[in-house]
């Protein structure tokens, strides 16, 4: 029955307007913004060059860090919106009533949603990393060196880990029974990530660690701190599944 739930959730994601728009926004949006930044740097726009710092270069060493910066915030927002919708919509649309009295438990349905979500984040991350590669090649940056390949792999891992840290959104949308509550949680996660990074405690804060890790080329965050990101995600995944299992429809 788990296979049936995964296939059902996959169909719902593929056919939904929210799924298509969020995917396009993440993929096309990031590539368009990167192309715009590259154009601005080529035009020597001083305000942009100042903001980009060491990333204000017309080569791979400029493109990959710029992509990492954009993706670290953009993907958290996009993934949070997707989770808020995947879990909160069942309450908003009222379809949650139909997910009771089934031969598959609601906890497993929640896990199926998370499995589909994880596959989606992995796929979006892969396509985006390939998109950045294509963009660099199109800009004439030449064949990527070994360090660039490592940066592109980090970009993909960043997307996967960002997918992990957004999982509290699924729990919030479930407990509150609302898409908007999930979106609110997403905004909260972005704020926490930014503030803790500024305060310098980011490495031990799972919400901030993936972006710090990717932006420092892997030097600012330890393996233990990255492991904490996985534990954080597992805790909220279990909380979400348990909340679905224990769900009651009190009006």
């Amino acid at each position: 029955m788990m296979g049936a739930a995964v296939s059902v959730e996959s169909l719902k994601l593929r056919r939904s307007l929210v799924g298509v728009i969020t995917t396009c926004a993440l993929l096309v949006g990031t590539v368009v913004v990167l192309a715009g930044i590259t154009f601005g740097v080529a035009q020597q726009r001083s305000d942009l060059v100042t903001k980009l710092g060491s990333a204000a270069r017309l080569d791979w060493a400029g493109l990959v860090p710029a992509a990492t910066q954009i993706i670290s915030v953009g993907s958290l927002l996009g993934f949070g919106v997707m989770l808020a919708w995947m879990f909160g919509r069942e309450f908003g649309d009222g379809t949650i009533t139909g997910l009771f009295a089934l031969p598959i438990s609601r906890g497993r349905i929640a896990l199926a949603k998370l499995a589909v979500y994880a596959l989606w984040t992995g796929a979006v991350g892969l396509i985006l990393a390939l998109g950045v590669l294509c963009l660099g090649l199109a800009f004439g940056y030449g064949s990527p060196a070994e360090g660039v390949w490592a940066g592109l792999v980090r970009l993909w891992v960043l997307m996967v880990l960002t997918g992990f840290i957004a999982i509290p959104v699924a729990w919030t949308a479930t407990v509150c029974g609302s898409v908007l509550a999930g979106v609110g949680c997403t905004v909260g996660l972005v704020v926490i990530a930014q503030v803790t990074a500024l305060l310098g405690v980011g490495g031990w804060m799972p919400v901030a660690a993936p972006a710090l890790w990717a932006m420092s080329d892997g030097s600012a965050v330890t393996v233990a701190q990255l492991g904490l990101v996985v534990v954080f995600a597992l805790v909220f995944a279990v909380l979400t599944a348990v909340s679905w299992d224990r769900l009651q429809l009190r009006r």
């Binding site: 169909l11 719902k12 056919r15 009533t97 139909g98 009771f100 429809l249």
Partner: protein, 238 residues
């Protein structure tokens, strides 16, 4: 098949249901009637595990509902509040989705489309269907896997007369085949046509049965409700 033993559940607002005891047996259609807010939907939610009883026990297929293994729910079909159907999917996709989640077979989907006269609408997205057609998709989704226990809350809502007849035939056919059916309705005449027993609900309690063979069902219905209201008022008055 489905048994309630002194079941109660109160919401924080004070509304809810109290001391519900009844059973629905195989081959039987039991109808639940009452005014809006009487507690019919709450009763059905308790019967399907959407709410846990604060008092008493609900038993399904002879076992307490909270101890029933998930696999036993292949034998349950329900439509309460909103159909299990997603607006972005077509009618057929929604039926396939529901069939998979109920452990049904693809052949049952094709049969359901035909039975519920949905073949011409199979490729139309659920959001583009009229409310009556949506209800028929919901009913098909609830019953296509041939459940032994059927629970339907106001199933004739939004249905046209032809679909009401179709629903009646389906319920009677399934009951004859041994299914237990619990259905709520506002339509007394409709209930009289299909139900073996009619249970009256008022202010969160079951207040007995209604004889559907009587000459004026509406009069009998309101007389029973009035008598119950007066009885409760006199009990509450010191």
């Amino acid at each position: 098949m489905l048994e309630f033993a002194a079941v109660g559940h109160r919401f924080r607002s004070g509304a809810g249901v109290t001391d519900l005891s009844f059973a629905v047996h195989p081959g039987e259609v039991v109808a639940l009637i009452g005014l809006n807010g009487a507690g019919k939907t709450t009763l059905m939610r308790l019967g399907l595990g959407m709410l846990r009883p604060q008092a008493g026990e609900v038993r399904l297929f002879g076992r307490p509902l909270h101890r029933l293994p998930s696999s036993a729910f292949t034998g349950v079909g329900a439509l309460v509040d909103v159909p299990l159907a997603y607006p972005e999917l077509t009618a057929e996709e929604n039926l396939r989705l529901s069939s998979r989640l109920h452990g049904g077979t693809p052949a049952q989907v094709a049969e359901a489309l035909e039975t519920w006269r949905l073949t011409a609408l199979a490729d139309r997205r659920f959001r583009r269907l009229s409310s009556g057609n949506r209800q028929r998709v919901g009913l098909a989704a609830a019953m296509q896997h041939d459940p032994r226990m059927i629970v339907l809350d106001e199933p004739s809502n939004a249905l046209d007369p032809a679909s009401v007849i179709l629903l009646r035939e389906q319920l009677l056919r399934r009951a004859r085949a041994g299914a237990a059916v619990l259905v709520s309705s506002h339509h007394l005449d409709e209930v009289a046509r299909i139900a073996d027993r009619v249970l009256l609900m008022n202010a969160g309690r079951l207040i007995g049965g209604l004889d559907t063979a009587g000459p004026d069902l509406e009069r009998a219905f309101f007389a029973r409700l009035r008598a119950d209201d007066e009885s409760r008022t006199s009990e509450e008055t010191p």
